[in-house]
Amino acid sequence: MAGSTPASATAEAAPQLGKAIASVSPWTEAWRRFKRHRLAYWSLWVLALLALAVFVGPFFYKVGINDIDFKARLATPSATHPMGTDDLGRDMLARMLYGGRISLAVGLAAMLTAITVGIVVGAIAGISRGWVDAALMWLTDLFLSLPQLPLLMLLIFLFREALKQLFGLEVGIFILIVAVIGGFRWMPVARLVRAQFFSLREKEFVEAARALGASVPRQVVRHILPNSLGPVIVAATIDVAAAIIAESTLSFLGLGFPPDIPTWGRILYDGRDFLDIAWHWAMFPGMAIFIAVLTINFIGDGLRDALDPRRVL
């Protein structure tokens, strides 16, 4: 029959019947299974190290991101400049650490935006029937058929100035980029949550809650939502990676953060014209984006196995 192939390499055999199983909480169980996915487990460590370096590093590595040193222009990596310098002699390591904070923060914030909108839309559509559901799904489909990258570029280009004046340079662009990236990534989450709600709301335990007189919001918040979070967590993880790529793509096209705010994508974009004489300039930010995205994707894959409620064979 179908399904005799395990859905994943880390899937395990079902516990034998009759054997006493010590009761463990679902989260302990998930963590135990997550650790079995070795690539995901190691990715978690690598990503944690990267995040630690980016957030704690600047407290120890005290070189300004805008310290210009014309004597050391386009220097290759050395003891004084571990990652070399750019065309103005600014230290790359300092800029990388600073940029990493922004890139990771954009990824997390955009993911939170997308997940929040997605859960709200999906939950409302999933619990209400009839025209509310139909209208929300039409909206979701409309958003799915918008051309994403062109619109991202367009919105950022058009509203950059307005937000810059409202919130200041750095914060304004940050809000804009997070809102725009998050605003185009909520649709899959909404569909996921809606589908989960459709099956969960007919389950016996929800019926029991309803019979006990639980109001609709309580059924949703206490009973349905917590049980539908597994796939959402996986989607959220992958979304962080997608948002980091989206931000770097925008920066790479010259439509992200301005040159004086060195995100990874922006550094890569600036270094592109110096490939022949200063390879390190484009290489380090590119590697950083790659490592961050790869580890996040692996973690997502591990979580998918760990949180799969079906307990594959």
Partner: protein, 319 residues
């Protein structure tokens, strides 16, 4: 079937109208003026600028401009590019062949890579080959195209000097030499885009073949004594391709997004670079036309995916 397609096309019309309205309003409400350059030019008196604005109807209310845009679009008039000073449809027709050629070639490459590797990986799941292929696929779609492009340029153009890293549309060679140059300058963009696609397609192919390969009818085919190659090629792959074809059709429009990045890296004068130029220079009619084409493509390919799905899988009936 025909009924279904017609009905879907009718449903697509309000969606297209909705999208065009959203695009138009965003563009109209945004700050920025296609005649900004004239404003800073001291040789152009402000009256001329005002007259130009009036001539192109930029001072009318938004809804009036939208209706005007829509009626002329339906009649086949796509507007006039403020920056290039030619009609938008000519401008797009000039740029689109390069983009289509690069995208088409990269799709073929992606298919040639993803299909055999995906099938082989699924035939022996969790073997060494599968593990390596799956890990490489993960690496492949975690590598953003702009970084792979830069790596390729660094390796093949700068270190080895084999391939040119700027795409030229005005090759002077003729005959075979032209083809040779054309192929040489297309290798890197096509590979970058193709391998990125291949990475995610390989995963689809693998999981789809895995779903099919343990079904009873495959066991039956084997026990009839058919050769393994016949079982895989004729029985397994044909059925496993059904969901893959749909996924590919659904992904095609996103490809134009990928093409924007690739065209920017290798400086290919295609439709993506036209869009970026148009955005940066406030050339509203061009931006509007290209984004609208992209959205129309998404809707058309969604419809196409559904139709192909039903054609490949007779179990699906259209109501």
């Amino acid at each position: 079937m025909l009924n279904y397609v017609l009905r879907r096309l009718l449903i697509a019309i309000p969606s297209l109208l909705g999208i065009s309205l959203v695009l138009f309003v965003v563009l109209a409400l945004a700050p920025g003026d296609p005649f900004e350059e004239l404003a800073t030019n001291p040789n152009v008196p402000p009256e001329v600028r005002m007259a130009l604005r009036a001539q192109f109807g930029l001072d009318d209310p938004v809804w009036e401009r939208y209706v005007r845009w829509l009626t002329s679009m339906v009649k086949g008039d796509w507007g006039f590019s403020f920056v290039s000073r030619i009609n938008v449809d000519e401008l797009i027709a000039e740029r689109i062949p390069v983009t289509l050629a690069v995208i088409g070639a990269s799709q073929i490459l992606a298919l040639l890579v993803a299909l055999p590797i995906g099938v082989l990986a699924a035939v022996k799941p969790y073997s060494w080959f599968d593990r390596i292929a799956s890990t490489l696929a993960f690496v492949g779609f975690s590598l953003p195209t702009f970084f792979t492009g830069i790596l390729f340029i660094l390796l093949f153009s700068i270190q080895l000097g084999w391939l040119p890293f700027v795409f030229r549309a005005d090759l002077t060679e003729t005959g075979w030499a032209w083809w040779w140059e054309q192929i040489k300058q297309s290798i890197m963009p096509v590979t970058v885009l193709g391998l990125f696609q291949a990475a995610s397609w390989m995963r689809y192919v693998r999981s789809s073949v895995l779903d099919v390969i343990r079904l009873d009818y495959v066991t039956t085919a084997r026990s009839k004594g058919l050769k393994e190659s016949v079982v895989i090629n004729k029985h397994v792959v044909r059925n496993a391709m059904i969901p893959v074809v749909t996924l590919i059709a659904l992904q095609l429009p996103q490809l134009f997004g990928g093409a924007i990045v690739t065209e920017q890296i290798f400086r290919i004068p295609g439709i993506g670079s036209l869009l970026i130029d148009a955005i940066l220079r406030n050339d509203t009619p061009v931006v509007m036309a290209i984004t609208f084409i992209f959205s129309a493509l998404v809707i058309i390919f969604n419809l196409l995916a559904d139709v192909i799905y039903g054609w490949l899988d007779p179990r699906i009936s259209y109501r």
